[in-house]
Amino acid sequence: MKKETAKKESTRTGIGRYEVRLAGKGGQGMILAGRILAEAVALYDGRNAVQTQDYGPEARGGASKSEVIISDGEIYYPKVMNADLLVCMSQEASDRYYYDLKRDGLLIIDSTNVERSPTTRVVAVPITELAVKATGREITAAMVALGLICGLTKIVSEEALEKAIRSLVPKGTEELNVKAMQAGLEEAKRLLEAGLPVALPQEL
């Protein structure tokens, strides 16, 4: 279906539209992760990207989500209509956002935090656990997720992602975060070798 979409869209811009939603709780770094993904794609992979975000009341707390639309053409609607990729770092996020995942979209959940998955067609990875293992810091889970995304979907190149991480995380934490990303990449590789429950996009 990804192909289908691409074809349909190509009548407009010649190239497809790929919708990503990263959802979690405030403080899990989802907004920064979205920004990194978008910036990697836009500044270093030469594509177009738009990133938007939602959070709780005023500047803090509550649920938080970040969306990235990627395309080689112009991007009009800046939000996810039907997500091609949904990453859920919390139970609430998973419960709430699953409904607008594309029928053959990819769902990644952090099994450290999400107990009940809304579907079985899901890539369940203990993202936070991997993060703690790799860096000792829960907060780097977002980077593990980015590594996973990169490895599983190839919508962003490894090099671009690493550059973006290095330019956007707080000074002094670059290595830590890149390490976490690499843990994600490796996990992706492992998963791909093991075979995934849903089809991945073949091209962009």
Binding site: G29, I139, M143, V169, P170, N177
Partner: protein, 105 residues
């Protein structure tokens, strides 16, 4: 919190475990579903009753030392600690004993 932020829970001087068992004693309960793991109780309890648990939440590790001074009760910003005065010489409970699955001691 942003990625890479350092969570600096500073440890206080070691607790005076050698002191005799206090006269005034407390039974300490931490409500895990309200506790946000800020570490204030862990750091400031004068008797070092708490220890940091694996998920960043405090665990009542040494209830026997508790003098029911209420520091933790008054300073927990999340109303997640209750300290009850222990009558007579009822023994302190064991560390980490779970009450109803949602309360961690």
């Amino acid at each position: 919190m942003q990625a890479g932020e350092e969570s600096q829970v500073v440890e206080e001087a070691p607790p005076e475990t050698t002191k005799p068992r206090p006269k005034r004693r407390g039974r300490v309960t931490v409500f895990d579903n309200w506790c946000k793991g800020c570490g204030l109780c862990v750091a400031f309890c004068p008797r070092k009753v708490f220890e940091l648990g694996p998920e960043g939440h405090p665990v009542v590790a040494h209830e026997e030392r508790c003098t029911a001074c209420n520091w933790c009760v008054y300073h927990c910003p999340d109303f997640a600690i209750v300290v009850e005065l222990v009558e007579g010489d009822e023994p302190a409970r064991k560390t980490g004993q779970s009450v109803g699955g949602r309360v961690r001691r």
